[in-house]
């Protein structure tokens, strides 16, 4: 019995559960914070779950909220596997949304089957540029990509504010003199189709397909193999003849492209226009940061990021209900996500040691077998 438990305990299944355990630990810490704020954690968490998954509508909202997290998270997977950290999801999201919106505003008379795919491509393009610049700077000038992507976020937001207050402002807002900084509503013929009679739109399906495609890209193609090789060991990759700078830049550009597509889909599937409150969060809902949390929870694997995005999308949707139920601001979820990140990366050491131990055991077993094989001929000689 004890042996069997030990086998289960040492199995890779427990490794896969580590992020779940880390998240539970974060939930416990937040429960104490709720207590300190004078709220009942059980009531709060019940409201959170009910608000996220309690009805068809809330489930649909959760999926809608999960969609940008999935795009950004899958992009984060590419960057991480390529050995670079992309904190620029916010800016890439905004850049992609801007490019996609420009297409929709300028081709308002065009056929949806032509304009919408073009807008999606524009979103991919915008995000790829915004991620590619830090990528090139990292590849050729060794500029720390964490810092440059953060700066690119701020630049994108200011660019967005300038365009939405100035050249792209909704003509109706100009007439009314209320001057709310937002673009005109895009032609309703461009709206992404709804999947069921809720807010759920086609973009969610595209996101899941993208996750699968990125999985295939990373593990079934030469390009993906090279990106992962560069991520694991730059020196060895260089000796193997891989163009390291190109693959570093490419992994950040691809990562940005997915965040850009997220922005485009947010415009065409949810808001049908762009708007700003002056900060990035107003438009993105911090998808660029929450996507990182989802990717980490999914163990930086595109397929693992699918359920992870669903979970964290749910937390963000449920936060509203939590706020109403126990009068604790929804910012609690940002705090929780921060803790999840800290706890998940903290378990990494444990996971690595477990893997090392398993490999060591395998090697030992293998050695025993070889020893046995070596011994056999001697026996024959003896006979």
């Amino acid at each position: 019995m004890k042996e069997r438990l030990l086998i289960i305990w040492n199995s890779p299944v427990i490794d896969a559960l580590l992020p779940v355990l880390a998240t539970l630990a974060a939930l416990v810490v937040v429960a104490f914070m709720l207590l300190a704020l004078g709220a009942n954690p059980l009531v709060a968490y019940a409201a959170l779950i009910d608000g996220a998954f309690g009805s068809v509508n809330s489930l649909a909202d959760t999926l809608v909220r999960a969609t940008p997290l999935l795009f950004v998270g899958v992009g984060i997977c590419i960057a991480f596997r390529g050995g670079v950290i992309n904190i620029g999801g916010e800016g890439q999201f905004v850049a992609g949304a801007l490019c996609a919106t420009l297409v929709g505003l300028n081709l308002s008379e065009g056929h949806p089957l032509l304009v919408v795919p073009l807008a999606m491509l524009a979103g991919i393009f915008g995000g790829a540029i915004w991620g590619g610049i830090p990528g090139l700077l990292k590849a050729h000038f060794n500029v720390n990509e964490i810092l440059s992507t953060v700066m690119m976020n701020q630049i994108a937001v200011q660019g967005m504010n300038f365009l939405l207050i100035g050249p792209l402002i909704d003509p109706i807002q100009l007439e009314r003199a209320s001057r709310i900084p937002q673009t005109a509503r895009l032609s309703s013929s461009f709206d992404l189709p709804r999947l069921v009679p809720t807010r759920l739109h086609l973009g969610t399906l595209i996101a899941v397909i993208m996750a699968v495609l990125v999985y295939i890209l990373l593990w079934r193609t030469t390009l993906g193999y090279r990106i992962r090789a560069v991520g694991l060991n730059r020196e060895a990759s260089r000796y193997a003849g891989i163009n390291v700078p190109r693959h570093i830049a490419l992994s950040l550009a691809l990562s940005g492209a997915l965040a850009g597509l997220a922005g485009a889909i947010q415009v065409y599937g949810v808001n049908f226009r762009m708007f700003t409150d002056g900060s990035a969060t107003g438009f993105t809902g911090s998808a660029g940061f929450h996507g990182i949390v989802a990717a980490l929870f999914g163990q930086l694997h595109p397929l693992g990021t699918i359920p992870a995005s669903f979970l964290f999308g749910g937390l963000l949707v449920g936060a509203n209900k939590l706020q109403r139920a126990v009068q604790v601001p929804g910012a609690l979820i940002v705090t929780l996500n921060g803790l999840v990140v800290v706890f998940v990366v903290s378990t990494e050491l444990w996971r690595q040691e477990r893997t090392r131990r398993r490999v060591a055991e395998k090697v030992a077993e293998h050695e025993e077998e070889t020893a046995a094989l070596d011994a056999t001929p001697k026996l024959e000689v003896g006979i």
Partner: protein
């Protein structure tokens, strides 16, 4: 137009506010310099600043005691620094990511506490301007250099002290040793983990102080995401400054001067869209990073956890 912009009045104004605005960069940047010199990249500065800023603001709001606000901000920042040290030194977590975790934590918690405990944007009367006798009366010079609040003077005083500690003391030598060659330092009996705990906690305390300098000395308000990227710029300034306190000072001044210029451009209504003016410091940071990394190399063991053999 340009002539009008360049009057002495405006120039003095830009210089004076530039010097004032460098304060949070200096505190946070110098604290971060010690952490990075010892081999730990703390990206949670922004979160620590936000928590420090809120703590200081709330304490001053409740008690009216400015120094108590500073002390509490330092303690709050220190606790977050200690947590970062535990995660990156003891648990050896990836520093680039754990720092983002602490940033999100600080961003969310300071916002939550702000909404729960204050509700609306309010102001406090922060540290008053301290006119240094005689010096502040010197024409022009006095206005630019000697009419600031005490936290501003403190930040500039910190630079030579930090440079001295880093370069002339045993403590500084140990910090540099564990950041350059932890194995060698360890074999000579330096406790690598303890050194890194000390510098990262110290860095957290200075980040907390940097936050306080915003909320109870420079701006005298607290609101959601008060720092808006300032902490990340402080981390970038450490790179820009080549991991030296004087370099950080140069970067902080360059930066805050551009920022001050940007504010005056808006005040004077010069026809540059304000968004581009706000954008300037961030573009400058990226350019500065490109230039800086060509000049000096980072501490060898930066972001590399130390595993003691045997």
């Amino acid at each position: 137009m340009i002539a009008e912009f360049l009057t002495a009045r405006v120039l003095l104004g830009i210089l004076a506010s530039g010097i004032r605005l460098a304060t949070p960069y200096l505190y946070a940047g110098i604290g971060e310099t010690f952490g990075q010199r010892s081999g730990v990249l703390n990206l949670g500065v922004e979160g620590q600043m936000l928590m420090g800023a809120f703590a200081a603001f709330y304490v001053v709001m409740q008690t009216g005691n400015l120094w108590l606000g500073v002390v509490v901000a330092i303690i709050v920042g220190g606790i977050m620094g200690l947590a970062m040290a535990f995660v990156s030194v003891t648990l050896r977590a990836k520093q680039g990511i754990s720092g983002i975790g602490f940033f999100l934590f600080g961003l969310g918690l300071s916002d939550l506490l702000f909404q729960k405990m204050l509700g609306t944007v309010q102001t406090v009367s922060g540290f008053p301007r301290l006119h240094i006798p005689l010096l502040s009366e010197i024409p022009y010079v006095g206005e630019v250099f000697f009419r600031h609040n005490i936290l501003v003077y403190g930040a500039y005083l910190l630079v030579p002290i930090a440079a001295f500690v880093m370069n002339q003391t045993t403590f500084g030598l140990k910090v540099r040793a564990v950041g350059e060659n932890p194995e060698a330092a360890d074999s000579l009996g330096v406790n690598v983990a303890r050194m890194r705990y000390t510098t990262v906690t110290l860095g957290g305390m200075f980040s907390g102080l940097a936050g306080a300098s915003l909320s109870i000395a420079l701006l005298n308000v607290f609101q959601q995401n008060l720092t808006s990227g300032l902490g990340f710029i402080a981390v970038a300034l450490v790179y820009f400054g080549g991991w030296r306190p004087w370099g950080v000072l140069a970067g902080a001044l360059l930066f805050s001067m551009v920022n001050a210029l940007q504010l005056w451009v808006q005040v004077l209504g010069i026809p540059i869209p304000s968004e581009f003016a706000v954008m300037m410091p961030y573009v400058l940071t990226i350019v500065a990073l490109v230039v800086a990394v060509q000049r000096v190399r980072p501490p060898t063991a930066l972001t590399k956890p130390f595993i003691r053999e045997g």
